[in-house]
Amino acid sequence: MVPLSWYLILSGILFSLGVLGFLLKRNIITIFMSIELMLNAVNLSFVAFANYWHTHPVADKSIVPLSGQVFVFFVMVVAAAEAAVGLAIIIAVFRTRETLNVDRVNLLKL
């Protein structure tokens, strides 16, 4: 049985990688992928907690077992929607500026 903390540490490492990638990368596509990475890091901690509470039931009624799994689906749906919108914006930006470098997309007007 893998302890909960390992999952959380892995989740933290993935999230930090996502943040760093978001901050340091210049290509919009890569930034976008970093965002997905952060979301999935969060998903990982969700399922880890869900499993943990499933195997360690408590009397506290405020903790609903399996709600973590439900949230993961919720996050995935939102991420899918966001991906659709985000990719559309990326295409629009590329069409108008002919670049994917965020440092050159620093003005609202053209």
């Binding site: 943040v19 978001f22 901050l23 340091l24 210049r26 965020v102 440092d103 997309v105 620093n106 003005l107």
Partner: protein, 697 residues
């Protein structure tokens, strides 16, 4: 028995007139404007006369007759009503104000006919009537104060009537500001009255005094304080030392204004206020003493200043100050009825003198310097005769009005513990000087030869007369007398009858007006003193000496013992002699041998220059009060407080937000990854905070 007289109508009528002329007068023809102004003033006079007639002693209506319209201000236990108060004192005042006011309105129709701003003039004049009537009819000090401030406003507007002229605008401001100084003391006096009486209503205040609520031990000092505050207020409005300086400058206003406001009515408001508050003053012997001394100083001081003036209106202005000093003196020796008597006769003859002077100025085309006049006796005979009557009246020669009232005052001064022979002597000397400068004016104006435009005035005269000169130069277009001549009769001409008729009426009043106060020893009954007696003796008999004084005055009014009569005759004779001596010297200097004054002035050059420059009082006030105040205002209040603190705060708030914004602006780099870094740092900070919360729990 009570009867509703609707006293509120009396002041309201001129207000309506002022409103109509002020709001719509610009579109009216001059005739319409004067019709409105005269109609409402006449109606006010009529209503006042009817009201006085109705409540005349013997009619069965109790005096004082008080009518309250409603409550004006309520604060805790204090309340001030809209109330009107008619007693013998306000009867005289209201008749003088509306009567003389109406005559001067008539005169103004002729005098102002060629001036610009005709409707404005009459609107202001009616406004003045409204406030003055409020002042004299109010039944409490607060409402009186409304009138008090209002007449100050009207006075300011009318002095500055020719506002394009700097000297007129300045004179208006000076009058207003100097009056404000006195008003401040009046306000303090009212606060003290509220504090100690809990009310400002006359009947409440005087009732408490009459009921003997106060004893010497229980704070007569407070009466002295109240009386001194009220007195200082009166020195402002009634142009007494030390606040008289505004009145001579107020001559910048049109002449009817000088007659109405700065001679006959407004400046007597202070005298009225003191006479009204006589119950308080009677309890404050020290204050009375000070009032007497101030009156005495003002009388002699202003009379000497009048000696050397060459502007006809300024002579009359100093004469007014001097006569107001007499009235103050009368109040100071607790001879209030004598003061009011002189107020009334003075209103007649001084209004007449001013209007006569206006007629002279009108006749000679706007010239005000007496040295350029002369020989007008034949050219403007009606004016000559009415001014003669007024001059004799003010000089105090029987049987003209001025003699009786002045003699009444001087007699009271002689007998009073606050007066005495010294102050009486100064009073008589002033009477002599009055006679001298008035006959000087008379001889210079009406006798000798007309020197219009032919006299080169000396250098010093130019300096002294600078404002008046500027007046003629700058505003000859607005001051339309110069134009008067160009249309036809070239040269000196008599004024139209609309100006002369009021003069004649006032001349009759100046002649007979004194007969209501013929003293006992001359076989009269002194009706005016008996008439005012119920008002003036409502106060309790006062402190030791004052009681004996009261006894003395009542006995000298009451029974005419032979010794008494001899003494009174002696006193009267002395003042008449002083007047005649003044007349003689004026005759000698300005008719018989006109070169004499020049020789005397060149011998006593120093004194002459001092008198000519009015003892340098204006310059002194300038150096002591005005300049330091101006410096303080400029350096500390303007540059320091206003520009430093207030502007500093406002601008500081602006610069501070600008600076903060400038710093915060750096965050808005447009660089998406730096935004993301801020978000990440913020998120990390929140997480750190949550962890810290968890650890410390």
């Amino acid at each position: 028995m009570t009867k509703n007289l609707n006293l509120w109508v009396i002041p309201l009528l001129p207000l309506i007139g002022a409103a109509i002329n002020g709001l719509f007068g610009r579109r009216f023809k001059n005739a319409m404007v004067s019709a409105v102004a005269l109609l409402f003033t006449a109606a006010s006079f009529g209503w006042a006369a009817w009201a006085v007639w109705t409540v005349w002693p013997g009619s069965g209506i109790a005096l004082p007759h008080i009518e309250t319209l409603g409550t004006w201000i309520t604060a805790g236990t204090f309340s001030a009503p809209f109330g009107f108060y008619l007693d013998q004192l306000s009867m005289i005042m209201v008749l003088v104000v509306t009567g003389v006011g109406f005559l001067i309105h008539i005169y103004s129709v002729g005098y102002m006919a060629h001036e610009g701003g005709y409707y404005r003039f009459f609107a202001y004049l009616n406004l003045f009537m409204f406030f003055m009537l409020t002042l004299v009819l109010a039944n409490n000090y607060l409402l009186m104060f409304v009138g008090w401030e209002g007449v100050g406003l009207a006075s300011y507007l009318l002095i500055g009537f020719f506002f394009l002229k700097d000297s007129a605008a300045d004179a208006g401001k000076k009058a207003f500001i100097v009056n404000r100084i006195g008003d401040f003391a009046f306000l303090i006096g009212m606060f003290l009255i509220i504090r100690h009486f809990g009310s400002l209503n006359y009947d409440a205040v005087f009732g408490k005094i009459a009921a003997g609520h106060f004893t010497p031990e229980a704070g007569w000092g407070i009466f002295t304080a109240i009386a001194l505050c009220l007195m200082f207020g009166a020195t402002g409005k009634s142009a007494q030392v030390p606040l008289y300086v505004w009145l001579p400058d107020a001559m910048e206003g049109p002449t009817p204004v000088s007659a109405l406001i700065h001679a006959a009515t407004m400046v007597t408001a202070g005298i009225y206020m003191i006479a009204r508050s006589h119950a308080i003053f009677n309890l404050a012997p020290h204050a009375l003493q000070i009032v007497a001394i101030i009156g005495c100083i003002t009388a002699i001081f202003a009379a000497t200043m009048g000696l050397a003036q060459t502007d006809i209106k300024r002579v009359l202005a100093y004469s007014t100050v001097s006569q107001l000093g007499y009235m103050f003196l009368a109040c100071g020796v607790a001879a209030y009825s004598a003061g009011i008597f002189h107020l009334m006769t003075h209103a007649f003859f001084k209004a007449l003198l001013f209007l006569g002077a206006g007629s002279v100025i009108h006749a000679v085309g706007g010239e005000q310097d007496m040295r350029r006049m002369g020989g007008l006796r034949k050219l403007i005979p009606v004016t000559f005769w009415v001014v003669t009557i007024a001059t004799i009246a003010i000089a105090g020669i029987p049987p003209f009005a001025g003699f009786f009232s002045k003699d009444e005052i001087l007699g009271a001064v002689f007998h009073s513990p606050y007066g005495g022979p010294v102050i009486w002597g100064i009073g008589v000397l002033t009477a002599g000087l009055t006679s001298f400068y008035m006959f000087r004016l008379w001889f210079m104006t009406f006798f000798g030869e007309l020197k219009l435009g032919s006299v080169e005035l000396g250098e010093e005269a130019h300096a002294a007369k600078a404002p008046a000169q500027a007046a003629h130069g700058a505003a000859s277009h607005s001051h339309g007398h110069a134009d008067d001549h160009s249309h036809g009769h070239g040269g000196v001409h008599e004024s139209p009858w609309i100006m002369l008729a009021p003069l004649v009426i006032l001349a009759v009043l100046s002649f007979v007006g004194g007969w209501v106060g013929v003293p006992q020893f001359m076989g009269g009954h002194n009706e005016i003193e008996q008439f005012l007696a119920p008002v003036m003796q409502s106060g309790p008999a006062v402190a030791g000496e004052a009681v004996s004084d009261k006894d003395a005055t009542t006995s000298h009014a009451g029974e005419a013992t032979p010794e008494n009569t001899k003494e009174e005759l002696f006193l009267a004779g002395t003042s008449v002699a002083a007047a005649l001596i003044g007349l003689f010297f004026a005759y000698l200097f300005y008719y018989k041998s006109p070169e004499l004054p020049d020789r005397i002035t060149s011998k006593m050059h120093g004194i002459y220059m001092m008198v000519l420059h009015k003892y340098y009082v204006d310059e002194g006030y300038g150096a002591i009060f005005v300049k330091p105040l101006l410096a303080l205002s400029t350096v500390v209040l303007w540059r320091g407080v206003d520009q430093g603190v207030i502007d500093g705060l406002v601008n500081g708030a602006g610069t501070a937000s600008q600076g903060v914004g400038n710093e915060l602006r750096q965050m808005q780099s447009g660089n998406i990854r730096s935004y993301a870094a801020w978000v990440a740092i913020g998120g990390a900070a929140i997480v750190a905070y949550m962890i810290w919360l968890g650890v410390t729990r």
